[in-house]
């Protein structure tokens, strides 16, 4: 196990494990944290998993763990690794099972005072309109032909069917549609899981949350993003549902053979991988892009139904009840990007597992209204605590292949959380804070208790100080729907 003495301090917020720490490391490992966060992150397998990531063939620069990093399987959660496209690998374990799990932020023109009398009704309406929880299926009838179009087009399919507005797409990472998706790369089992679950939130840590902008820390960027204090916002956290889980399962399975075929030695079988350019690597990439597009479409459909709830509940009382997209980002994905590696522009596959893209100003994909400022970075906190809107920086390209944290990060196991916290007590505590809660199960609520997570403000402070992203606004929850 990695010990504190194995870490070399680079700055107040950055630590390195040199590549000579273990003979199979190909690049160093870097951890973004303050000194007082180290004991927590060294208490489980997080850093061992970070070191394992560095063994993947074609790794460049360093493997990075974000300030919210915690133990996962294969890659640590909050892990970022770039591999050269020319001779590096792609790893399904570096993306995870919920492909393109991500977060979307919507803004309204409604204020907290205006919404207060209707908040309870609004949360009930969202809960009814957005299917959530274990085993809940969607209300859409999705044919095999529809599914193919979703897998290729992502949010574009939603736009064609009237579930999106034209301005939603440029305000979505990759415009909600990653090129290279191939529905033929999915198993029939993945497809059968995908059809009934399209347009569903899911369970676990997935949520819809209504927030208020409590504090703006960067007025110029906040104005560009359409954000001001007191404004009501909505966050949607969901992913590719059973379809994505099945894609990952299928390729982790088939890559067990690929590893042998390509003579790749790994410290953990969950890290299975194949050369990016190989038949196996290309098949996984095409399937992963398809699952990612499904996830973009899924969050777009949920957006449509949240908008409907705002209209149903608020239209008769508040004139400007509508919701506009701020941004939508993935935090479990592998993307082909160009980064500077050893002074040269290099095409790499950036694996972000529990990490968010955080590109700075001037990035061509960004919509014109954001391009001079940088990409919005969404960091949801734990239930009942703050969330943050940040903006990507130029520095993040040098520090973390343009990546940032994706949340607060767990510190307590689900089992421990359930032993320590009663869901019904937690619900009462949240309601005493004025937070309206709709939850599928009390046990599930307890697992996601704020005490099971790191302090999001501390995590975001590290992000800001390290230069991974810059603070824009802090959000406070008013209502939450947990699947």
């Amino acid at each position: 196990m990695v010990q504190k003495r194995d870490l070399t301090r680079v700055t107040d917020t950055l630590w390195e494990i040199p590549s000579h720490h273990r003979s199979d490391m190909r690049v160093p490992a870097r951890l973004f944290a303050t000194a007082d966060m180290l004991d927590d992150v060294l208490a489980d397998k997080t850093i061992d998993q970070l070191v394992n990531m560095t063994t993947l063939p074609g790794s460049v620069g360093w493997a990075a763990a974000m300030p919210d990093a915690h133990q996962g399987y294969g890659f640590c959660i909050g892990g970022v690794l770039a591999t050269r496209l020319s001779d590096g690998v792609i790893s399904p374990g570096g993306v995870g099972y919920d492909i393109n799990c991500g977060v979307r932020l919507l803004r309204s023109e409604v204020t907290q005072d205006e919404i207060a009398p209707f908040l309870d009704s609004l949360m009930t309406s969202i809960d009814q309109n957005c299917p959530s929880g274990v085993g809940r299926q969607g209300t859409l009838k999705v044919s095999g032909q529809d599914l193919d179009a979703v897998l290729v087009g992502g949010s574009q399919w939603a736009l064609r069917k009237g579930y999106a507005r034209p301005q939603d797409l440029p305000h979505t990472e990759s415009h909600g549609s990653i090129p290279g998706a191939d529905p033929g790369a999915l198993s029939s089992r993945a497809r059968s899981r995908g059809c009934p679950q399209l347009g569903t939130l899911g369970a676990g840590n997935h949520f819809v949350e209504v927030d208020v902008v409590e504090e703006v820390t960067d007025p110029a960027v906040a104005t560009a993003f359409g954000i001001r204090p007191g404004q009501i916002m909505v966050q949607i956290h969901s992913g590719s549902r059973g379809l994505g889980h099945q894609v990952a399962t299928d390729y982790v399975e088939s890559f067990q053979d690929a590893v042998r075929k390509h003579s790749i030695r790994l410290p953990d079988r969950e890290l299975v991988c194949a050369p990016f350019g190989s038949k196996e690597g290309q098949a996984y990439f095409a399937a992963m892009c398809a699952a990612a597009n499904y996830a973009f479409c899924n969050r777009q459909l949920l957006t449509h139904w949240v908008r409907r709830s705002f209209e149903d509940v608020l239209a008769a009382h508040i004139r400007r009840f509508d919701l506009h997209m701020v941004y939508d980002i993935a935090h479990n994905i592998a993307k082909v990007e160009t980064h500077i590696v050893q002074g040269a522009k290099t095409k790499v596959c950036v694996h972000r597992k529990g990490a968010t893209r955080a590109f700075g100003p001037g990035f061509a994909e960004l919509p014109a209204d954001y391009r001079d400022f940088g990409q919005p970075v969404l960091v949801p906190g734990s239930m009942g605590t703050a969330s943050w809107l940040l903006v990507g920086t130029e520095q993040s390209m040098e520090l973390s292949f343009g990546s940032c944290c994706h949340g607060a990060g767990r510190t307590m196991s689900r089992a421990q959380a359930k032993k320590t916290i009663w869901g019904s007590d937690l619900r009462q505590q949240l309601e005493a804070q004025g937070i309206v809660v709709r939850a599928g199960s009390m046990a599930g609520l307890a697992e996601e208790a704020p005490a099971a997570y790191k302090d999001v403000d501390q995590v975001v402070d590290v992000v800001h100080r390290a230069g991974l992203a810059s603070k824009v606004a802090r959000l406070r929850p008013l209502g939450v729907i947990k699947g």
Binding site: H70, Q71, Y73, T249, Q416, G444
Partner: protein, 132 residues
């Protein structure tokens, strides 16, 4: 026999068995326990399953994946298992299945993370991490 292990983000169990058949059967029970999946009825449906894998750990993962899929897609819980053949790389089982009366969560995936079936005290032991 199985026991839940602490895992920061997901769920994990340690499983012991006097032999491979008991290990596989108890791994299934442990997974159903994590999922909060119960069936109140005696299994009314007989299912037959044949699986082949490259090694015993892969076979265990495939076995649990299959049961997790039946749980999510059909709400089916296996209540009785008879292994007609169970080697390091091949499984042939006949099972009785019932409809789940409750499910607390679905198992997203059965992972290979640090997975190893090892001999211990005359039997076998393993630890399995599940994505939930």
């Amino acid at each position: 026999m199985y026991q839940e292990l602490d895992h920061t983000a997901d769920c994990a169990i340690r499983v012991w068995g006097a032999d491979r058949a008991e290990l596989f059967a108890d791994a299934a029970k442990g997974m159903y326990w994590l999922a909060g999946a119960t069936t109140g009825e005696a299994g009314e449906e007989i299912r037959h399953l044949t699986l082949t894998a490259s090694d015993q750990e892969s076979l265990l993962v495939r076995w649990l994946q299959e049961l997790a899929y039946w749980l999510e897609s059909e709400s089916r819980v296996v209540s009785g298992i008879s292994f007609q053949e169970l080697t390091m790389t091949h499984l042939d089982a006949e099972m009785t299945c019932g409809t789940a009366t409750s499910i607390a969560r679905f198992i997203k995936a059965v992972t290979y993370h640090d997975l190893a079936i090892v001999p211990v005290g005359g039997g076998l032991q393993t630890a399995i991490v599940f994505d939930v």
